[in-house]
Subunit: 344 residues, 2 copies
């Protein structure tokens, strides 16, 4: 059953480079994966124009017309989901809800997409809050950081569930029996932190099913010491955007100082390819996308500035997520938790 054809929706109108990136990404993904169908949701004429001159397997590319678009600048992302019922995003999420598709990829409005996934696709029974999960580069397997965008104000219990979900996802992806879990915090000592992390520390320590290895300082998310790091989405966002800023600042500073002398210019030419490779390691486009863990479908958020390669990578990630059976495992885990609570 796991090798059967899967259907993945791509929101053709979402992202900074829509429709060219999602439509181009669909063509790349169909070429790479012979065992998927792609549904492109969006304005039919726009999609058809983008497809002109492209070679692809027409049997496996379906267009689902949608007359509306959820923009990046919606005043209320939640209202947009409610009111734009014929948008590419809402139609795509509804297809996942109705099991007409196995998963979805969108580079569109993050707030609307996360709210829409929770409302339409729905939470797995027992999950308080779904969480967006990003893979941090470490040199070896990525460290999964969550929540990277969905829940700005969290309770300790949410973070405990984030840890359980990410552990399952990590195990499915990399086959590690007991992934190590860390808590993003301001120091390694158990008494460090704010009210949220101090209380969460206790919960994680008590949870026998979790391999909690302690607090993770922000500087250590790259060391690979932790397989999973949990946090609220506010701190997660500050960390991720800070890294982005540091990379730009350092690369900019290096370029400027290199260009200030002949010696620097020659050295700079020689190391240019290496600089590019280091920068690309910190590049979210290379990673593909971020799954929203905790909903009843494979919902992948691609970065807003994704190009067609990034969209195709996100489709690959969506397919891996589906084939690994992550949702069934989280569902089973939540059932077990509920039984323990009822019987204990």
């Amino acid at each position: 059953m796991n090798n059967e054809m899967k259907t993945i929706v791509i929101d053709a109108m979402g992202g900074d480079y829509a429709p060219s990136a999602p439509v181009g990404g669909a063509v790349l993904a169909l070429e790479k994966h012979k065992d998927i169908r792609i549904v492109l949701t969006g304005k039919e004429d726009v999609i058809r124009r983008e497809l002109e001159g492209k070679t692809y397997d027409k049997e496996r590319l379906i267009i689902q017309p949608a007359s509306e678009v959820i923009e990046n600048e919606e005043e209320s992302p939640v209202d947009a989901i409610r009111s734009k019922k014929d948008s590419s995003m809402v139609l795509g999420l509804t297809m996942v809800k109705n099991k007409e598709a196995d998963g979805i990829v969108s580079a569109g409005n993050t707030g609307a997409y996360l709210a829409g996934a929770t409302f339409l696709v729905g939470r797995i029974r027992g999950i308080s809050r779904p969480a967006l999960t990003v893979g941090m580069p470490t040199g070896t397997t990525p460290t999964l950081l969550l929540d990277a965008g969905a829940n700005m104000d969290c309770k300790p219990g949410y973070l405990l569930q984030f840890a359980r979900m990410a552990e399952i996802y990590y195990r499915a992806l990399y086959g590690v029996g007991k992934p190590s879990v860390g808590l993003l915090n301001v120091g390694v000592e158990s008494h460090k932190g704010n009210e949220l992390t101090k209380e969460t520390y206790g919960l994680l320590k008590e949870a026998e099913d979790i391999n909690f290895t302690g607090n993770c300082e922000a500087r250590d998310v790259f060391t690979g010491e932790f397989n999973v790091v949990v946090t609220d989405a506010f701190a997660g966002n500050i960390l991720l955007k800070g890294l982005e800023g540091a990379a730009s600042y350092m690369m900019g500073g290096l370029k400027e100082s290199i260009m200030s002398s002949l010696r620097g210019k020659i050295g700079g030419l020689l190391i240019k390819p290496y600089l590019k490779s280091v920068k690309s390691k910190l590049d979210p486009k290379a990673v593909g996308g971020c799954p929203l863990l905790g909903v009843k479908g494979a919902v992948i958020k691609a970065h807003g500035n994704s190009n067609e390669t990034a969209i195709a990578n996100a489709v690959t990630q969506c397919l891996t997520f589906i084939r690994a059976g992550v949702i069934d495992e989280i569902t089973a885990n939540m059932k077990k938790e509920a039984e323990v609570k009822t019987n204990g």
Copy 2:
């Protein structure tokens, strides 16, 4: 009056490289500034041994013997301040409290130092919470980020006071009439953020004395767009340590890929000095130290891994802080606020 001799305490037992870094830093600072006295607090025999063979103005270096040391690994920093009354840190802070010294520099236990400064030196009347302030590199004048370490859980009113204090400090340092103030947040839109930032946004917008220019995303702390950025110490710590991690990760990755080929090795040799200069820009040791704004004395926290140059830089910063009259201005501002409240 502003040119008279000033007395600055250096905690000789604080920091990863104590006593050599603080004692060496004292000698460097005395050489650089002819208008200061330095008081070294700590174990007299240890300090005397460190001073052996060094040339300095003996008239301007005083040793204040202290038999105890507050360690980095104290179980409770607050208890350490209470119980170790004859420690180098407590004696130093007490000298500032008693006006026997104008300011103090320590690279020791941050939690103990901040708690000690608040308890012993005392808060300026009306200030709810003193805040640790760090200068972020921008290419031009630094952006002041606070709170960088003192208050993990903040109320919106605290952040409003942080903005007022930092504005005064920035103006004193750089002579800018109306420094721009930003709020560290997850997006530029006013509705973005967690409960704290959403409420703080409203307070800052209403405060007519503050030049509030909106939310600052973590990637924009280096752009120089904001003179001051306010946040709670949890998010501040995540940002600062994340930057540290990103810098190490990128430099490590670059080194590794450069060393993988002859071309890279030659290029690497040529750009080595430029790499160093970029890294040093992100290096907290170069900045010197961070003032704790809101207490009745010039209390400067030097980074734990400060070497003697960094300690000397922190002394320079302490002297600048004293001469700029920052405390008097914050005190006057708080009085004005109180009057407005009483009369309005």
